[in-house]
């Protein structure tokens, strides 16, 4: 029995403790407070709300692991969405065919990746701080988007795109399927690929990684490129869900993605963090807002509770570390 627990522990890792406990607490508290909480309806609302925030969080995760940040995620997503919208409109708007959609999606992902490549190159070669570089990109993209859309919505897309935002396949929401596929892709990337390995190493010590013979510039450019591509996927899903593109869509998600990463045990200074705990943290955030909704709380209160939750987790983590240290500290 102990062996099984140990095995589960090593598979899940220490990062899992925080989000895992939070998950149990949220399910327990709302399960008791509201009889409707543990129902298909809750699952449905979480399943549809999760992917947008989730995909953007995946886009935020990689740069954070290198010790950086990508503040341009939401605007990259919407610029990519605009790219797709532009291709669709050029091909007949509401009458555009699947081929135009495919072409537009590929272009959107390329545009997202390009935004990442530019940031990555600047960060890798000038050693400028990622916050400043991505902030510049964020402001540039927002201005560009507002200029292109005159600050309004772009809409009028073919009907077959709709299911990508709110359809279901065998009872599972399509956006959730896209998100889960992306989560698994990120999990494999980080645990099994050379790029993932090097991402962690750079996050802990870039110079030592370079001395070890790793092309750190290439890794950083790739990390931001993948981050941008993931933004584009989020942008496509948002386009389908809202049936429109607006440069400000999802703007409030920006810092929530950072919160979700930290809640998922990602080290804010880089080098440590895993995808699955971040996924669980995202589920906890959504369950929390659905649960508060069910017990009749104002939906804006949910955001406030998210903030409190993160602060609480930080304090608990500090207490736990302190407790552990007093037992293992060795003197040299």
């Amino acid at each position: 029995m102990n062996a099984i627990i140990e095995r589960v522990k090593t598979v899940l890792g220490p990062e899992m403790a925080g989000p895992g406990l939070a998950f149990l607490a949220v399910v327990l508290v709302f399960g008791i407070a509201s009889p409707q909480f543990l129902s298909a309806a809750t699952f449905g609302s979480v399943a549809f709300q999760l992917p947008e925030l989730g995909l953007l969080t995946l886009a935020m995760l990689l740069p954070i692991l290198t010790g950086g940040l990508n503040l341009a995620i939401t605007f990259t997503a919407n610029i990519a969405g605009l790219t797709l919208a532009w291709v669709l409109q050029a091909n007949g708007g509401a009458d555009a065919g699947p081929a135009a959609f495919m072409l537009g999606s590929v272009l959107a992902i390329l545009v997202g990746a390009a935004s990442g490549v530019i940031m990555g190159l600047v960060i890798a070669f000038t050693r400028a701080h990622p916050i400043l570089v991505s902030l510049s990109m964020m402001i540039f993209l927002r201005g560009l988007g507002e200029f292109l859309t005159r600050g309004g919505d772009v809409s009028g897309f073919p009907a077959f795109i709709g299911p990508l935002g709110h359809g279901s396949l065998l009872g599972v929401p399509v956006p959730l399927i896209v998100f889960v596929v992306c989560v698994l892709a990120w999990h494999v990337l980080l645990t099994r690929s050379k790029l993932g390995f090097n991402t962690y190493m750079i996050g802990s010590n870039l110079e030592a990684t370079r001395y070890s013979g790793i092309n750190t510039r290439k890794v950083i450019v790739l990390v931001y490129a993948l981050s941008g591509a993931m933004c584009a996927i989020a942008g496509i899903i948002m386009l389908a869900r809202f049936n429109s593109v607006r440069i400000g869509h999802g703007e409030s998600y920006l810092l929530i993605t950072v919160l979700a990463c930290f809640l998922g045990g990602v080290n804010p200074f880089g080098g440590f963090g895993r995808v699955i705990p971040v996924f669980v943290a995202l589920v906890v955030l959504q369950l929390l807002s659905s649960g508060l909704n069910l017990v009749g709380a104002n939906q804006h209160l949910a955001t406030a509770v998210w903030g409190l939750l993160l602060a609480g987790v930080m304090v608990l983590r500090f207490v736990a570390t302190k407790f552990k240290i007093s037992f293992v500290r060795k003197e040299t």
Binding site: K194, A208, E331
Partner: protein
């Protein structure tokens, strides 16, 4: 070239002597059988089940220079932290200091009563001026809580004058080299009217002549009645400076010995509980093929016209003072710096590296002198640090295989005798010697032809150093060409087949340890 490293103008050393003379009356009884300034009895300290100190006693007499010796982890730092009030010893301890008894110290009491520590990292503020660094504690504590910069400058100048040193107190500290920063740290300790000063590895990053100046200053302090407890790995200077030596091993007191009549090898034996017998390992490798052939290599203002060869199975020692261009030369051979002129050939073929990746592919490995920030990625695991430079070997179908990684790491850990807990423990949890073994394994895993070891024993215990050099000898025997860089001449003398002396970017001497004496080479290097 090395004259005036502490900013001593020729006249200012007499300043120090005058200062010593003024306080000579206090020296008269130092080292005698008078009442000790500090007396610790029955000191016990436990950290989570590990007993860091076991019934340790420790005495310091007024004005003496007392050396605290022992390997890393023997309890030296714990003892210092108890005396300075950072830790509280287990019940039953008695601390007598300057006529009063305490069951434990507090940091405030310790400072008020004139106990000062100069930690190895100095705990200074590089961005702030010399004056601010020296005087901030004294000036900030006063009412009104406004900073009086003139007073600060005056306090700093006075403290430096007491040491016989002139520095520009308005310059930011970062403008000064490590040797001068050390002086600033000492000056700050003196501002607090110190009676007892602890110095933790004060000479670790100093050259010989800088060390000599520092030892002069320590003598001056002692002469003025300040007791100095000196912690150092360099046993030669320990013997030179101290009057008594307290040796700790595994948290227990081994004994207190007068420095007169001690030898370095005897201290090492006491510290480690083992005996060491160093012998010259040099052999001729003339029949072996040349692995590395360097001709006329130059990089402006770093090194000039360096030519050397290393043969299969040969260990080439390079020694010289810090700043002689040794590390720059090594980084050029490793492809991280580009030579301005000259050629590098590996096994007869000229090579041009555009990055260290090219060098690693060609079979060059470089163990950095800075293990903490460049050699290993401290927060990450032992396993990841070991495989980082040879990731392709642990791929399976294009993806990293945990299985392959674990077996590769297990093989090297076993081969080099690294003592570890779990492979996924952070490398920072290992001792210096074991970390260095992992760092060597990391490079051996890349199948190098040439291994450059830059200061491989920095931060490694005396007892573990022999183990590192045993590995080096074994690697050479297996055919690896090795360049061993060290500023400790005995290391290259005993462990290399040939020794090159580098000074100011040039190779100025070549020695064969079988025909030259250690004193010859040391004489040339430290001249």
């Amino acid at each position: 070239m090395r004259k005036g490293v502490f900013g001593f103008p020729p006249a200012s050393r007499s300043n120090l002597t005058r200062f010593m003379g003024r306080h000579m009356h206090q020296l008269a009884t130092a080292g005698g059988s008078e009442k000790p300034l500090l007396a610790l009895r029955d000191i016990n300290m436990t950290f989570g089940g590990v007993r860091a100190l076991k019934n340790v006693s420790f005495d310091v007499r007024p004005g003496e220079v007392h050396c605290l010796a022992g390997e890393n982890g023997c309890g030296k730092s714990t003892l210092i932290k108890i005396i300075t009030g950072v830790y509280r010893p287990a019940d039953g301890a008695s601390i007598e200091y300057d006529g009063e008894s305490y069951s434990h110290m507090s940091p405030v009491t310790a400072q008020d009563r004139g106990i000062q520590v100069i930690w190895q990292d100095l705990a200074l503020f590089p961005e702030m001026s010399v004056a601010e660094n020296i005087a901030f504690q004294t000036v900030l504590g006063r009412w009104p809580k406004l900073v009086d910069y003139n007073r600060m400058r005056q306090i700093a100048k006075d403290a430096l004058a007491r040491l016989g040193v002139t520095l520009d107190v308005d310059l930011p500290l970062k403008e000064y080299a490590i040797a001068q920063r050390q002086i600033v740290a000492i000056a700050r300790a003196l501002v607090g009217e110190a009676k007892l000063v602890f110095m933790d590895e004060p000479t670790a990053s100093l050259t010989q002549s800088e060390t000599d100046h520092l030892l002069d200053i320590v003598r001056g302090l002692s002469a003025s009645g300040v007791a100095v407890v000196f912690v150092s790995h360099r046993l030669a200077e320990v013997l030179e400076i101290s009057s008594r030596i307290t040796v700790l091993r595994d948290g227990a007191l081994v004994g207190v010995y007068p420095a007169a009549g001690m030898t370095q090898s005897r201290i090492t034996e006491l510290m480690t509980g083992k005996t060491f017998d160093q012998q010259v390992r040099a052999k001729s490798r003339d029949g072996q093929p040349v692995v590395l052939d360097v001709k006329g290599l130059s990089r402006p203002s770093q090194f000039e016209d360096v030519s050397l060869t290393v043969r299969r199975g040969e260990t080439l020692g390079i020694t010289g003072l810090l700043g002689a261009g040794r590390t720059e030369l090594a980084l050029t051979l490793f492809g991280m710096l580009k030579p301005a002129s000259g050629t590098i050939s590996l096994e007869g073929k000229p090579v041009h590296f555009s990055s260290n990746r090219d060098a690693i592919r060609a079979g060059v490995a470089y163990l950095s002198e800075d293990r903490l920030s460049l050699g290993l990625i401290q927060p990450q695991s032992i396993a990841d640090n070991l495989v980082i430079s040879s990731l392709d070997k642990v791929l399976s179908g294009g993806l990293l295989s945990e299985e392959r990684k674990r077996s590769l790491v297990a093989r090297w850990i076993g081969d080099l005798g690294v003592k570890i807990g779990l492979q996924q423990d952070a490398i920072s949890t290992l001792s210096g010697g074991n970390q260095q073994r992992v760092a060597i394994a990391k490079w051996l895993a890349t199948d190098p032809k040439l291994l450059i070891l830059d200061a491989p024993t920095v931060g490694v215990d005396v007892g573990a150093r022999a183990g590192i050099f045993d590995i080096v000898a074994r690697l050479a025997e297996s055919g690896l060409a090795i360049i061993l860089i060290s500023d400790e001449v005995p290391e290259v003398y005993f462990n290399a087949d040939r020794v090159l002396h580098m000074a100011q970017g040039r190779i100025v001497g070549s020695y064969d340890p079988r025909t030259s004496s250690l004193a010859d080479i040391e004489g040339a290097v430290y001249a």
